[in-house]
């Protein structure tokens, strides 16, 4: 056997570096610190950005075969399916064209009435098309990654919609991709308006408990909410433009032991398997700034509370 084939250098006796236990302590403490910094103080975005840009070539490389496979499967997809989809789209267009014809007239009327009442005109929002690359792997949240980043002018906080309704909100922006938190994620809340009654509420994502849905919280047990009601964004938060469909009411449970009804919602947008989305600009960039808090009333309220 030739020399040098076996590992003949003995392992170092004394210079073995720090012990495994001390390394475990140091790195566990570092990991805990990072977790607290991430959850409590939200200061880890620079670390994330650096690591994400280091990781981006690997992600890009893995995405290429995936994109090819998608293209090939799309190429071989059944012609019949495409024709059926087109027929359905035509039927939908036929149904919508009648309403669309009225929209011009309604908009004109709306504008006149608003001018008559001296109301502020509704802001238009700029939109940007994007494509969903993949679901974020974290099974503890509901997020997707889209193929537009701050190079394309995406800002954190922008609402994201698909062709049917609100899909979610951009929560992290990297150079050429961004992370969208879906409406069913536990951390996302949307102010909504019941289109039948006009009652406002807040819908919270609740993917775990209700099997991929939302929950309309803090509605009184006797509130007028029926299964099938459609909820749209109310536009009071300065993020989502008003009137986008969010969810429909799935189930209403009124129980005696609580003052609130338990209202489960089903998202309107395709939260699983969506591909083409639109990223809107947050509305607050176009509405008037919030007036400065009135110090006199604030102090007055404080004194009355005493």
């Amino acid at each position: 056997m030739p020399l040098g084939t076996l590992d003949r250098t003995p392992p170092p006796f004394f210079r073995q570096g720090s012990s495994a236990l001390s390394k475990l302590t140091v790195f566990s403490a570092l990991a805990l610190f990072l977790m607290v910094a991430d959850v409590r103080f939200r200061v880890t975005q620079p670390v994330r950005a650096v690591l994400a840009s280091a990781l981006y070539p690997a992600q890009w490389m893995v995405l290429q075969p995936v994109a090819w496979a998608r293209q090939i499967s799309g190429y071989f997809q059944n012609l019949g399916a495409a024709q059926a989809a087109q027929e359905q789209a035509q039927r939908k267009l036929g149904l919508q064209s009648q309403r669309a014809g009225q929209v011009e007239q309604l908009m004109l009327e709306n504008e006149r009435l608003r001018r008559l009442l001296a109301l502020r005109t509704r802001p238009d929002t700029a939109a940007r098309a994007a494509q969903v690359l993949y679901d974020a792997a974290d099974p503890f949240s509901r997020k997707v990654i889209i193929d537009r980043g701050f190079v394309d002018g995406i800002a954190a906080g922008s609402p994201v919609v698909d062709e049917t309704g609100v899909l979610g909100q951009v929560t992290r922006v990297y150079a050429s991709v961004s992370e969208v938190t879906l409406v069913v994620d536990r951390d996302l809340a949307i102010p909504v308006l019941n289109t039948r009654t006009g009652a406002r509420g807040v819908a919270f994502g609740d993917a775990g408990a209700t099997g991929g849905g939302l929950e309309l919280r803090y509605m009184a047990a006797n509130a007028d909410v029926l299964p099938g009601d459609l909820l749209a964004t109310s536009g009071v938060d300065g993020v989502y433009p008003a009137g986008l469909q969010v969810a429909s009411v799935d189930k209403v449970e009124r129980r005696g032991d609580t003052a609130f009804a338990r209202i489960l919602l089903r998202p309107v947008a395709l939260v699983a398997g969506v591909i083409h989305v639109m990223v809107l600009k947050p509305v607050d960039s176009e509405i008037a700034p919030r007036p400065a808090p009135d110090t006199a009333t604030a102090t007055a309220r404080k004194t009355t509370r005493k």
Binding site: M1, P2, T5, L6, D7, P11, Q16, A20, L21, K23, L24, F27, S28, L30, A31, L32, F33, L34, M35, A37, D38, V39, T44, V47, R48, L51, A52, A54, L55, A58, Q59, M61, V62, L63, P65, V66, A69, L133, Y134, D135, A136, A137, D138, P139, F140, S141, R142, K143, I145, R172, E179, D185, R186, D187, A207, G208
Partner: protein, 176 residues
């Protein structure tokens, strides 16, 4: 060196192969997420498996520091809590280094049984961290992941030791 009876003498491990296999495992993890199964919770964490393998076989080269860095990469890719995977991998690597002298005395199937608790501990650590930080419970299917990883242990043990099992003096009968 004292070794188990009948065990083959191995060639020294190539550092490029070690780090290359770790990178490949990371890429496989990315592929599982981006192309194959999306957000599924039961998918085996191949990177954790390869990390444990090298922590057991080459504890002087691959250790807790490498586990921490790879864990951070996984966290950033997944977009979840930063540090959860890092903590899980650090503990995993520590436990692997703790048992590395004992583990190699057993046959490969019984090694697989002995690494199963390691993966279970790593999963529980991650679950606890994520749920404390306010995550959604991903479903019971996630308990399958350590089992699948343990089942993959023999496969990984064969694949990653292939370069070290080559003949030291290749000839016509033993070209590799």
């Amino acid at each position: 060196m004292i070794m188990r009876q009948g065990q083959q003498l191995l060639l020294p491990a190539n550092p490029f192969f070690i780090w290359g296999s770790l990178l490949c495992a990371l890429l496989l993890n990315l592929l599982q997420n981006m192309g194959l199964w999306g957000r599924a919770a039961w998918t085996p964490d191949i990177l954790a498996l390869v990390l444990v393998f090298w922590s057991v076989h080459q504890p002087l080269r691959v250790g807790i520091g490498a586990a921490f860095v790879f864990g951070l990469c996984v966290d950033v890719h997944q977009g979840g809590l930063l540090g959860a995977h890092a903590l899980a991998y650090v503990v995993l690597s520590f436990l692997a280094i703790t048992i590395h002298r004992r583990l190699l005395w057993f046959s490969v199937p019984s090694q697989a049984v002995q690494v199963l608790p390691l993966f279970a501990v790593a999963l529980l650590i991650e679950l606890a961290a994520q749920l404390l930080a306010g995550g959604t419970f991903p479903g019971w299917s996630m308990l399958l992941a350590p089992g699948v990883e343990a089942l993959l242990w023999p496969v990984v043990s064969v694949l990653l030791l292939v370069p070290q099992r080559r003949a030291p003096d290749p000839d016509a009968n033993r070209p590799l």
